[in-house]
Homo-oligomer: 193 residues x 2
Amino acid sequence: MPNKNLMLSRKQQILNTAARLFRKRGYSATSMRDIAREMQMEAASLYNHINSKQAILSELLLHIAQAFTDGMFEIKNSSVSNIEKLEQLVALHVQMTVDYTDAISLIPNEWVHLEGDAIKHFLNLRDQYEKDFNTLLEAAVKDKKLGDIDIDLASFSILSSLRWLYSWYSKNRHTDVEKLKKEMIRNLIYGLK
Amino acid sequence: MPNKNLMLSRKQQILNTAARLFRKRGYSATSMRDIAREMQMEAASLYNHINSKQAILSELLLHIAQAFTDGMFEIKNSSVSNIEKLEQLVALHVQMTVDYTDAISLIPNEWVHLEGDAIKHFLNLRDQYEKDFNTLLEAAVKDKKLGDIDIDLASFSILSSLRWLYSWYSKNRHTDVEKLKKEMIRNLIYGLK
DNA sequence: CAATCTAACTAACATTTGTTAGTTTTGTAG
DNA sequence: CTACAAAACTAACAAATGTTAGTTAGATTG
């Protein structure tokens, strides 16, 4: 089977390669020459497609963060119960993990290497997302669908597990995605009942 | 001999400072000059106390990993029920998080920058710990103390939350430690019942 | 064919990096 | 006070870094 990367734009190939290397060794420990070697080209040639190393990181991270924000917007405004919205959010995380395993692995830590407006933007999206998540969790408790939990700590626990799912999924790629969604919903949401 | 104690205490200051900076910016993005500046000394002077940047990282990570291994050994061999052992393990994580907040933050990601024997040793300790954790979880299920969960995924979820607790705790240092232990046990263990 | 565009190349740059060597200061024990 | 060891300093190093400038090969278009 030919390389899947062949069908993508050169820029997208570079982003994918960078995501894989950033995941493996971290942003700082990955050099432009590392990325270039993997792409079988010279480091300077990368600049025909991307503006800077920093721009690679911010494209990767902001793309993921925006996708989560968009997903949250849709789910928040849908007309299902609060507990169902929570279920859909867990499913969103699982789906994102499956679709963007490498890039999503950068979310927990590598954002610290963003600079300027990019880091502000990223943290704005992240903080708003977490606020929305807490709000939904609180609403579900008020609906008597969840026990009398510490909202902040429970929210943190759930999101921690979801953020690290990429690591589990990498070792279990055979897993059926829909089954995984159901199991995570059970573990993380109904475990708290 | 009091000279040696003074030297060790200076070394410990360096380790603590390094842990704080490694946490903030990552191992690779933290230079020896960064650590030195924070210690109000020159980079070269650090080498009177430590052998290399790499040695700092491995001392920090292996110290934490060994403490977990020791804790697991004690708990495994104690004469309480399996479910109580799980409770004690959660409490161990919480206590370690409180005692070594900065150094413990390096456990999830920064081990990738270990080299040679250090990385082998670290991964051995980590993998054995996770195996022991899984075994206990399985035993608790067999005791009918937990529902019919996917052991691997549940173990992963619990450990993810515990690994990231340092981040929550940093923003909630006022929290009573014993209360936090109880809440985490409830969230992570009895949530699964 | 000629002109244009894309995407590769080589060469070089100014910084920053971890670390070593050699020297000087400082604190303490006898 | 002297002697010594601990721990700081200055200076320098080779290697690696992100990036720019200028050039060239190959394809596409008029």
